[in-house]
Subunit: 309 residues, 4 copies
């Protein structure tokens, strides 16, 4: 169970079958860092092009298509004192033809991040939010494995391999389960947000470089068709598609598959339980694929004898 | 400030400009009851046709188009000991072509409701949920005012007037703000659910007849274009449309209008605040119009000087 | 087989179970007229409120729920010399955030209609279309029967009962088949367009009052679940919903039902035939419900022994 | 102006920045062939994996990002005597929950292709289509250039670079205009259909290997944001996205850009002209991105002085 310290010197803007930067074994832990969505690192230096540059890929020894790659986010934390956001809710999140007065002409808003106190404050331009310090809720906007069939998919989008889901629930303490599509799995991560509302509706969270510690574990399949995840409270599945209706179909169906095939719950019980207890969260509604998270509380599952951890 | 006791003897299956059953004044309180979605009352007797029969309409004296009707749900509670649900997640909520083994052939599932203890248990047919008692979370699935321009809209659907939104957050303690479209407003309510997951994905919550106490208050406009609501913690707006993307556009735009026009927050602050703090909940994804709720925590708004109650 | 001459004096803005203006028998022909979408008649006088006012409803003696009402459009022709359009493609038909310079501030564009020559020319404001005369292609934007369950649906929208479909293929020579939902069927018509592109993307065709002659015939059910139609060349089905994907699902499924249940074609042949020969047209993408038309050429059907007329 | 004869020996299953198979100059013509969607060639031998294998990429000397690559399809014709289709309309094209009796269990249907007479006949399994010979209408389902930013996109999908659009209008006589994103453009083509209905609703046209002759020409930008095309009768733009509503937004906006920026038509005239004359066709509604084609007749454009060829 090695603990690797990895300092990236190159970045990818697609998730694909790229040259791995480090080989790790199932059970290993990795401490590394990620640049922000425009390629700026912990020192505020632009070290690569904009567009959600990824740290990685990390090759997991022995991973084969059909396996499940479990990645546990142990620590996610900003590693500098300035973050940024866009200023305006995106037009496609608002009623067509709705006009507002907020200009978003390439200028970004600046946030002061107090990494010790764990707070963020909007410092530029001046708004009525000035002086308000909000607690950080760090999360990874984009991570995933290499997709199948030789694809190299932009870090702007998301699909069955993970990608740019921008879900605020993908925070420290979460284990994600990704379907391995290529030998070695090839895990990528980046796009840290110090704070983010649902939907990433201004096109950003508070974008910032991160220190990240994660561990990996290989599990036998069958893998899910879509990303799965859990934390101490919830089982979660992610559907990534447009429109949101389709994302919700994928996430819901994946939860049924997980409960039935993964945990052995009979179909009737699974449907009845979801009917009264399912919860949906909204990942990004900004990028080419939107994200819906389907959740069920572990406490509810335990009541019906489902052997969640 | 009268407190009316009203026992319905007729029901409507559309929200429209129908003959009022009771005239009330702004500030009045009404205690009444609602039948379940198939028209069964507190005694388990079918007193009207199925399809979300509505109690009402209640005419509010002096209400004029352009006004806001505020309705506060003071008490919502099942008034009998048997509820029912459908058995299967609806096909349009699952991946096209996904096959499952749950049949939903007109048969419903029966739940034992302990109205004193406040619990529900699935008693028929036997599943692994047998013996599990879940806490009630009563909510109204369908309520609203008469829509404009002579329309009579089915209680199966929802629009700017309210309607069948099936949002579990529409519970006791909530005040909803509806745009008055016809003289007297004409408020309807029904479709009580003892418990319901997000999305109403099996097509029902635990359907049951309710005792309801609500109060009404007229407020001057401008009214929202879509339903608004609040409770002690949240401001909420509802968008009702397909696909979910469009429902989300309406709900988000309505929240901006409320913050800016209603509370006087400048546009830049409103966009920045929503960007990092907006929350979305999913009302029904079962009926002709889907529902997205856009929420902002009052605690966050107060930090920026927004004068929420 | 009476031929009724009917001059309307009142109009409806919803399709619902309204008082009939004339009772006709199956086989009868009616000659009447319709006002334009803003309520202006053949003399250019506003005789009712704007919003697709309907002529009718016409009660068809003996029509019962479950029957099919066949309506043949024998003649549709503008009855005045001025029509109007809106100036700008609607924002929801264009990419979100796309800005153009065309203002559509309540002003309309005026078209000179030569009803004898059958041409239209944009005369106000001046554009590069000035002097160009286009051939008329008159069609009815909105028609249908009273919907079920006491609903009164706005003439802005469309559903299983017909309504505001704005399909340029609903022209003279077409017979439409509508599912009767209430005794007497209650047929409405209006919203004539002298010319219209696909999608009604500027929110109008060339809006104008019409002279209309149509005949009605009752047929035994089973009726389609969605409107069906035919002309000399095509079988057509209409799906009315958002998004277009759902409208297309309804239209395609309805065509399968028609071919299989209506014409007795086996499922395998029906699927194979549609796979290589289906055609889709786009009705309006402007109004609350969008319209997709699914078409199959009668010539292709005849080759497989389907007994189309 | 060289005429290259190119016999492929390798194929790609993504459109990406792959090693070119041939370098050509602007103005050159290429005669080559394509395998069918399952990788079978003119001899009926499987020479590569299934999934729309592409012939190419062809590097066009001097092409730079921002340029336009014009590709004219001069000849598209099946080069063997057997084609195949799937048997069933896809579930996502039909109403959710609709059940039909057509099984599509990996088995395909076989069609006899008479390349001299230009006809297709369904020969296996037996249906009522047996004996019917339909005229071929050969088209290319998938073609495009390498996308930007290092992406390698599956030949199952489509985007701004082209890809799997499955539009029956992409036939001989058409010139397509693609936005060059990488040096050399890198043009790919494949997925020939001898015949196909709108929407590719059974998931295939009549799939078959093709002989193809095309010519390429470089044009200075600005390129369109989405694929453009023309034939003798029509200007066409393609939008590729889900839902169809979004595909239609892209296609319509791209047509406005083309008319205004490309042809110098003023915005008011462009909107008015599209309003009354736009036509929409439906490419595939089967694959991850759906395709809508926006068309305007050249004859109409010429009337307003637009200098189409």
């Amino acid at each position: 169970m090695a603990h690797h310290q990895f300092q990236p010197i190159s970045y990818y803007h697609t998730l694909g079958s790229h040259e791995p930067v480090l080989t790790v074994a199932s059970g290993d832990r990795v401490s590394t860092c990620t640049v922000d969505a425009r390629g700026y690192d912990a020192q505020g230096v632009q070290v690569t092009e904009r567009g959600n540059p990824m740290t990685g890929p990390f090759l997991v020894e022995g991973a084969q298509p059909g396996d499940v790659l479990a990645v546990t986010f142990e620590r996610l934390w900003p590693n500098r004192t300035r973050g940024w956001t866009r200023a305006a809710v995106a037009p496609h999140v608002l009623e067509p033809g709705y006009r507002h007065e907020v200009t978003d002409g390439g200028q970004v808003q600046e946030w002061a991040i107090d990494t010790a106190a764990g707070t963020a404050e909007l410092v530029q331009p001046p708004t009525r939010l000035a002086g308000v310090r909000w607690p950080l809720a760090p999360m990874l906007g984009c991570f995933g494995v290499a997709p199948p069939r030789g694809q190299a998919l932009s870090t702007a989008t998301a699909s069955t391999h993970g990608g740019n889901m921008d879900y605020r629930g993908f925070a420290a303490g979460v284990t994600v389960y990704l379907p391995v599509a290529v030998p070695g799995a090839l895990f990528f991560l980046g796009d840290g947000h110090a704070l983010q509302g649902d939907g990433e509706i201004v096109g950003t969270g508070i974008e910032i470089s991160f220190d990240v510690t994660f561990s990996v574990a290989l599990r036998p399949g069958p893998a899910g068709e879509w990303p799965r995840a859990e934390n101490s409270e919830w089982l979660m599945t992610a559907g990534n598609a447009r429109p949101l209706d389709q994302a919700l179909q994928h996430a819901t169906t994946e939860m049924l598959r997980w409960l039935e095939v993964g945990f052995g719950l009979d179909a009737s019980s699974a449907h009845a339980l979801l009917g009264q207890w399912v919860r949906y969260d909204v990942g990004n509604v900004f990028d080419p694929a939107y994200t819906i998270i389907c959740k069920v509380a572990k406490s509810i599952l335990r009541q019906t004898g489902v052997a969640v951890s």
